[in-house]
């Protein structure tokens, strides 16, 4: 599957295309295979996202999991600061990322 991601213009936060909007939670992301360029162009023009691009991902226990480690780290936050990730205090977070 392909996911569309970018950063929020104001906050810089990592965001994911949900099919109708942008979410900071990767589990909200939807497959955009075939339509990534069109959505990216439209959303960037409307300033709802900054520098959008598509990535490869797989379904993992019902949620999308980026294929590459860089996007997995990007999705959740620095592995060395679990207090700053989107799933604080989750002991399994390192396994998910790596």
């Amino acid at each position: 599957m392909r996911l569309l991601t970018g950063n929020d213009l104001k906050s810089g936060a990592v965001t994911w295309w949900t099919g109708s909007d942008w979410s900071i939670h990767i589990e909200d992301a939807v497959d955009v295979t075939g339509s990534e360029d069109e959505i990216a162009r439209r959303e960037e023009a409307a300033r709802r996202v900054n520098v959008p691009y598509a990535i490869d991902a797989e379904l993992h226990e019902g949620s999308p999991r980026p294929s590459h480690i860089k996007e997995r780290v990007r999705a959740l936050g620095p592995t060395v600061r679990p207090d700053l990730t989107l799933k604080p205090a989750d002991p399994e977070i390192g396994n998910w990322v790596i």
Binding site: G12, A13, N50, I69, K70, G77, P78, T79, V80, L84
Partner: protein, 544 residues
Amino acid sequence: MYAYDQYDQAMVDARVEEFRDQARRRLEGKLTEDQFKPLRLMNGLYLQLHAYMLRVAIPYGTLNSLQMRALADIAEKYDRGYGHFTTRQNIQYNWIKLEDAADILADLAKVEMHAIQTSGNCIRNISSDHFAGATADEVVDPRPYAELLRQWSSFHPEFSYLPRKFKIAVIASEKDRAAMRLHDIGINIVQNDTGELGAAFYVGGGMGRTPMIAPCINAFVPLDHFVTYAEACLRVYNRYGRRDNKYKARIKILVHELGAEEYTRQVEEEFAQLLDQGIEPPLAELERIRTFFEDPPFDGDADAEIDRSDPDFAVWVDRNTVPHKQPGYVSAVISLKPVGGIPGDATAEQMRLMADLAKDYSFDECRVMHTQNIVLPHVRKADLHALWTALEDAGLGSPNLDTVEDIIACPGLDYCSLANARSIPVAQKISERFAANGKTGTLGELKLKISGCINACGHHHAGHIGILGVDRKGVENYQLLLGGSEAEDVSLAKITGPGFDENGIVDAVETVTSVYERERQDGERFVDTYRRIGMNPFKEALYG
């Protein structure tokens, strides 16, 4: 330390307002990201892995307590309560919002700081010896010269769009504590046989994907012409540096391809022409700057003895203090490398404490080291125990300067969009391993440096032990390098062989230190033993 004059302040204030307008236009959609990107980068604002990242310049690493406190306030008010001190003696914030960026720059300007030229293809923050003005081994305090270069290079119209970024270091002693020969220009202020001071110019060094040690192109440039000589070096580079290929655009490639001799010939030719134009700043300006760097009012009766009855304190004194030119004083290093911690990170509370300690014990001054620690340059020996007690209470008392725990690590894949592998977890595991096996002290001086990609922000080429993280088909892999140094015995490390996974690299580091323990002779550091016995014994231990 240097204080802004009206021109400095006016320039910085004007830049804040200019950027405020640029950011507003971006947020309103009047600028595209392609248009805005070079503008934000000129103000140190990157878009990194998780958010915007702001890099703040700390000229030659020097801060007063007011500035350190302002950095703490920014961490708390605009970021997530911490900052990361870098290998360029700067600080970075990882969670900045674009809508706050101009306000942060305004807060910085209030304490004579900025983020100008911390990115982009321009002359970056001038770095220097973190013990400048305190050490007995310098021929002169290099900071006034670094400051003069800072002023010369700030908004230099000819050098704002160089082929690539440009880094300059200035030192003034045989001991190199600034990785001088691994800079685009390294300047070592030296004294000749007649006692006259001059600048030795080393040009074309650097790390990154093509590491090179800068050759000396002129061993003695009179100091009343050293800015002109730097201008000539830059002019030749600006004219002939490769703009067609980002990976060949640094000056080291130009010097290498032309040959040091031909590059020098062209610089000398340019220098001769520039001399006629009289572009050197007037001596009066250097003298004005020099007045800001006079010695603080040292206590001439300061006690030369240290009460070492507390064994933990004695260990810290032995490892984290260095001799000072003034009897009764030392320079004290605050380690930002707690065992299992993130190298170079400090919380807002820790920054405030360091500010207080600088004010109370070090004439209101502290320095950022390129090794990501903080120096209090002028501490009375009599105050050391009180200082250490305060540091211990705040988790800043690790006695590990220049040991295997004192690891340089770039932010790596945890924060950096360029990185291929994580650096910080490797650093954490190594420091934990050596703290647990009790070898940190017995291994002596061992400089370990980790980069998460070939760009080498973690200086892995220059580590006695270096680690380079690479991406092997989407999996982190770590190459081990041995034998580098960024000090006066400068050398580039060599790769041992096939890489290791995250846990394997920690074992590999322990393995090579075991070879060192077995083979070392009296007084040898790790790198000395490596240079004597060569790579093979280490390879045999690693790969069989």
